[in-house]
């Protein structure tokens, strides 16, 4: 795509054709009414003309007919994508090498940076937070524990928010890193809001930097969730370390003061 072009459409097989593929299930038995309903939905989504290219009933057989219909729809969306208006959580900070990270902490903080990590709520998926924290790391990068200038405690899974607040206070944590993988019924959003509220209440302005991550987070949601930064799928330890340096040492943002120096 040549630079300078700001408005694009999805690309099926020709520039500008706007083609997309969509699938969903409606709680309607299969038949012309269901197909009409599917076309109505596709139309509301901006697909015109929409083609229902496949449908089949779900849950039928045996006694009763199917109560649901699954659809595959193809067609062009009329919407334009305005690249100029895209909100990108661009990395507003440089990606530092491990040596640079340690150097920055040494120079800027004159002590170890204290990082706490945990999975909160009933989430027991530790692989993601381990990938960020453990020496073994992720995608060829070593985790935060590797840094000489960081003191990292990985509290593991199913940690409650009050426990985490207490530990953060006790350890004088600079940053608290929380992983949330289960998203059913927006568990991850609820838990993150609860986390933010608890830290706000317990520590006010003096709270540590709050960082959450997990594969289904939208990085643009940090403010809305009341945390400082959100990392999504495929995050690497280096990105997180660089961010910590940026936020806690480099260019401290006015609205997220770091904890008082001891």
């Amino acid at each position: 795509m040549p630079d300078g072009i700001d408005v694009v459409r999805p690309y099926g097989d020709t520039t500008g054709d706007g083609m997309v593929q969509l699938s969903f299930t409606l709680p309607v038995p299969p038949g012309p009414r269901a197909e009409g309903a599917a076309l109505q939905l596709a139309g509301k989504m901006g697909i015109a003309p929409a083609m229902v290219v496949h449908s089949h009933g779900i849950g039928g057989g045996g006694g009763g007919g199917a109560a649901f219909t699954f659809f595959v729809v193809y067609g062009p969306v009329r919407h334009l994508v305005d690249l100029a208006a895209v909100q990108v959580e661009e990395r507003a900070y440089p990606l530092l090498s491990p040596g640079e990270v340690d150097g920055a902490i040494r120079a800027g903080l004159h002590r170890q940076l204290v990082v706490l990590g945990a999975c909160i709520g009933t989430d027991a998926h530790t692989v993601g937070i381990d990938a960020i924290l453990n020496i073994k790391g992720f995608a060829g990068e070593k985790g935060l524990e590797y840094h000489r200038e960081m003191r990292v405690a990985n509290l593991g899974a199913q940690v409650t928010v009050p426990e985490l607040v207490a530990r953060a206070r006790a350890e004088r944590a600079d940053a608290v890193l929380v992983s949330q993988v289960v998203t059913q019924r927006d568990a991850h959003l609820r838990n993150t809001r609860e986390l933010a509220a608890a830290f706000r209440e317990a520590m006010g302005e003096a709270r540590p930097l709050l960082v959450v991550g997990g594969p289904r987070f939208d990085p643009a949601m940090a403010a809305e969730l009341g945390v400082d930064r959100v990392f999504g799928r495929g995050t690497t330890p280096g990105e997180v370390a660089s961010y910590l340096v940026h936020a806690l040492i480099g260019s401290r943002r006015p609205d997220t003061p770091a904890p008082e120096d001891p």
């Binding site: 699938s23 969903f24 299930t25 089949h56 779900i58 849950g59 039928g60 057989g61 045996g62 006694g63 199917a66 109560a67 649901f68 699954f70 709520g121 009933t122 989430d123 027991a124 692989v127 593991g156 899974a157 199913q158 289960v182 998203t183 059913q184 019924r185 568990a187 594969p215 289904r216 799928r233």
Partner: protein, 540 residues
């Protein structure tokens, strides 16, 4: 029909001997202890149900919704066991003091004992001599009634299978429902059965395994799974009985025993005619950080109940491969299968009840990954020729590319068919995205049907040559497994030490760490557990 590998028979014998030896300390431990959950399970078998109405936060707490049942009310079995423990300790078991109270006329029935506990008026003592004899007889009779119900369910299952018909073929097609709401789960389970599922598993809400009680009632408020409760078991079994009758084929129901309440959940499964249960000797330890001692005592009791109920267990070796590498750590799966086998047999389970777990979790980008999967799957098949084997689909290397996921699941299904797996857990294209949707399940079943119908017969043409890639790989995994077992068996604490060393799923769990250790109690010589007595009597 299925391809088998010619494994070195001396090696196979040696592997089993070593496993038995490594497991012995665990068996000894389990025989010498009880747990709060084992004792609660005894009360459940004797018929105690319900919750203390003055406990719980009702709908103010997480895990409880406006339209669901309070899932945090404390069951009477907990209240009673806690009271006994407070007053006389648990080292004699709960049966002696409780049935002594009944026999001595302090309460007309078990429910009344519980209400006295609730009111704070119950007083327990440990009887001796004739009093103990009397309490034992009464307890035995009460528990026997519960076991009779378990036996009746087993007979009923056999009758239904005979009358309605069984799954049309192996592997059994096993599907998960996981909405968190039993009333959404039911139609989804029925839809899946109509579309070809032979087994329905209801996944539990996150966090339930760490609850030291079993919630009660029909629930609608789970996260990424539905609470395992007696009422949910009953509702789902009834719904599947309906659909079984409709389809002319008995559809099996599965739930999860592992967790802090393994013994009780095993009892509830027996009472409500569940057909299969996830029950691994080590899963709770490794993946839920439950104390090893607690787990080992609980798992033995729960497995004895499953043995009696005619329930097929599913072990959890597949989970190791979600944290550890499926090629590097393939031999730990084999080792764990051998350990699960030896512990299961000690608890009275038979070969046909051993759904030993393994999984298709090799990085699909690895050259020859599919053939490596075949090698591992055939190794398990050849090592445990009479066990059904539970074959888990790819999860770790699934991504949001649902097309790729659907393809990978197809190859998983093919591997299952080629290697004669007994229980095929159907993979979902949305594995990396969401708990399965209604349509995911339906599409997944279409995938299974295509592969089994179109290519299932390929076993006739599948003949990995001796000395070929598959044969060599299987042999080397077996050798690594035996070497590891040698190291484990070498240690006086055997398996307990191996777990502390991080042998499985690269997770270290020391014997005194984790949740629930305070629920473990060393038994005295006079301790009495009527359930254990009755369960062991049959086996003798």
């Amino acid at each position: 029909m299925t391809a088998r590998l010619d494994l070195d028979p001396a090696l196979v014998t040696r592997a089993r001997e070593l496993a038995a030896c490594a497991a012995q300390p665990v068996v000894d431990l389990a025989r010498a202890h009880t747990t709060v959950s084992v004792e609660r399970a005894v009360l459940r078998l004797a018929g105690l149900t319900g919750t203390d109405p003055v406990t719980g936060d009702g709908d103010r707490r997480e895990g409880t919704a406006r339209d669901g049942t309070a899932t945090d009310r404390v069951p009477w079995v907990n209240r009673v066991v806690d009271a006994v423990r407070d007053q006389v300790g648990l080292e004699h078991g709960v049966a002696l003091p409780v049935w002594h109270a009944l026999a001595s006329g302090a309460a007309p029935d078990l429910q009344a004992v519980a209400e006295q506990v609730g009111a704070g008026t119950a007083r327990f003592v440990v009887p001796t001599g004739a009093g103990a004899e009397r309490a034992r007889d009464a307890a035995r009779a009460a528990v026997a009634a519960g076991l009779a119900r378990v036996d009746a369910n087993r007979a009923r299952r056999e009758e239904l299978v005979a009358r309605l018909g069984d799954a049309p073929r192996r592997p059994w097609v096993y599907l998960i429902v996981a909405t968190g709401d039993i009333h959404e789960d039911i139609p989804q389970a029925q839809a899946a059965a109509r579309a070809g599922a032979d087994v329905i598993a209801v996944i539990r809400s996150t966090g339930q395994s760490l609850l030291d009680y079993v919630p009660e009632g029909a629930t609608r408020t789970g996260y990424a799974g539905t609470y395992a409760t007696q009422e949910n078991f009953r509702l789902m079994r009834a719904a599947l009985d309906d659909v079984s009758a409709e389809l002319g084929r008995y559809v099996r129901l599965t739930n999860y025993a592992s967790g802090l309440c393994m013994p009780e959940i095993a009892v509830l499964a027996g009472l409500e005619r569940l057909d299969m249960m996830l029950n691994d000797a080590m899963y709770g330890i490794l993946f839920r950080d439950i104390n090893p001692r607690r787990t080992f005592v609980d798992q033995r009791f729960s497995r004895m109940v499953h043995a009696r109920a005619g329930i097929v267990i599913n072990t959890g070796e597949d989970n190791y491969l979600t944290t550890a590498d499926a090629v590097d750590e393939a031999h730990t799966v084999t080792v764990s299968q051998l350990l699960n086998e030896t512990l299961a047999k000690e608890a009275g389970l038979e070969d046909w009840q051993l759904g030993l777990g393994h999984a298709f979790e090799i990085d699909p980008d690895l050259p020859d990954s599919f053939r490596l999967e075949l090698a591992h799957a055939l190794l398990a098949r050849s090592l445990f020729p009479d066990a059904p084997l539970k074959w888990m689909p790819p999860t770790k290397h699934m991504t949001g590319d649902v097309f790729r996921g659907y393809l990978l699941d197809g190859f998983f299904n093919l591997a299952g068919a080629l290697t004669g797996q007994g229980i095929l857990l159907v993979g979902m294209m949305t594995e990396a995205v969401v708990t399965p949707w209604l349509s995911d399940r339906d599409l997944a079943l279409r995938n299974v049907r295509y592969v089994l119908d179109a290519a299932g017969g390929l076993v006739e043409d599948f003949a990995p040559p001796p000395g070929g890639f598959i044969d060599r790989r299987a042999d080397s995994v077996l050798r690594e497994a035996v070497a590891l077992l040698e190291r484990i068996a070498d240690h006086p604490q055997g398996l307990i030490q191996a777990i502390a060393d991080g042998t499985f799923g690269i997770t270290r769990r020391p014997p005194d760490g984790g949740k629930g250790l305070d629920g473990v109690v060393a038994l005295t010589a006079e301790a009495y557990n009527p359930a254990l007595e009755l369960l062991e009597a049959v086996r003798a």
